[in-house]
């Protein structure tokens, strides 16, 4: 935690930022990692809410399921599902970098694209599985 006491009211030069760089997949993946992480923070709260509703009994649980089944609820759930798979896949990419693997420019672009494709396929796959009646196998 670093304090940053600067002289107030003076315009200071900024280093080149989002508005100046040409968009690239590696950069988008990095931004998405943070964005999905923040979305998943909200998702974690919903997850705890879900557990509380289960512990409260059928009325409470069914009340939550009404929200979940609404179009907006489904959209939010899809957002969480996509964020989950994106952050999971890109997180593994980050861990590989931390171990020193996958830094080569063209390879990093490829793995970045792969993460986007995988996240979409897994999220759509998860929803398709449930919609085609292949979910709920823990009954």
């Amino acid at each position: 935690m670093a304090d940053n006491p600067q002289i107030a009211g003076r315009e200071r030069p900024l280093s080149p930022h989002l508005t100046i760089w040409r968009w690239q997949i590696t950069m988008l993946a990095s931004i998405m990692h943070r964005a999905t992480g923040m979305a998943l923070a909200v998702g974690a709260m919903v997850l705890v809410w879900w557990l509380v509703c289960i512990s409260n009994g059928p009325d409470s649980f069914n009340g939550l399921m009404v929200y979940a089944a609404m179009p907006l609820g489904l959209l939010v759930l899809f957002g969480f599902t996509f964020s989950f798979f994106f952050h999971f896949c890109n997180g593994i990419r980050h861990l590989a970098w931390d171990l020193g693997y996958g830094f080569e420019k063209h390879f990093a672009t490829k793995t970045g694209t792969l993460v986007f494709v995988l996240a979409f396929v897994l999220a759509i796959g998860a929803f398709a599985l449930v919609w085609t009646g292949h979910g709920g196998y823990l009954k």
Binding site: Q6, M45, S55, P58, F61, G91, G136, L138
Partner: protein, 126 residues
């Protein structure tokens, strides 16, 4: 130029952030732990999708499932706290606001963790 650091400062190796590599390391370790836990969580969520409350109760009252769900939620919240701290460190530069937000994040790590454990205990003990 001769370094102005004291020998003690060098040994501690904490730099200007006062916290060293501890945060970085905790973030990596929790993310590594979350790989298997997330796979189990995805399996559980797909398996519970569309089922009634009774199925959820039966699943979560099994000791292994209760334990894994507790581990997943608590590790997720811990990792979430570390991640949100980085976002705050990056974008919030006034001391008072920063401390307030960091404390707020701590609250949203600890309170949901306790709530989750309480709910799982309640489910397990019927």
């Amino acid at each position: 130029m001769k370094s102005q650091k004291t020998p003690l400062h060098k040994v501690r190796g904490l730099g200007a952030s006062h916290s060293g590599t501890g945060h970085f390391w905790r973030e990596r370790v929790s993310s590594a732990a979350l790989i298997p836990l997330s796979l189990w969580f995805a399996f559980a969520m797909l398996g519970l999708a569309g089922t009634r409350e009774v199925t959820h109760l039966q699943f979560l009252s099994h000791p292994w499932n209760a334990l894994l769900m507790a581990a997943f939620v608590v590790t997720t919240l811990y990792h979430m706290g570390l991640g949100l701290q980085v976002v705050i460190d990056d974008y919030v530069h006034t001391s008072g606001m920063k401390i307030f937000l960091l404390l707020l994040v701590r609250f949203f790590v600890i309170a949901p963790s306790v709530t989750c454990l309480f709910a799982l205990g309640r489910i397990a003990l019927g």
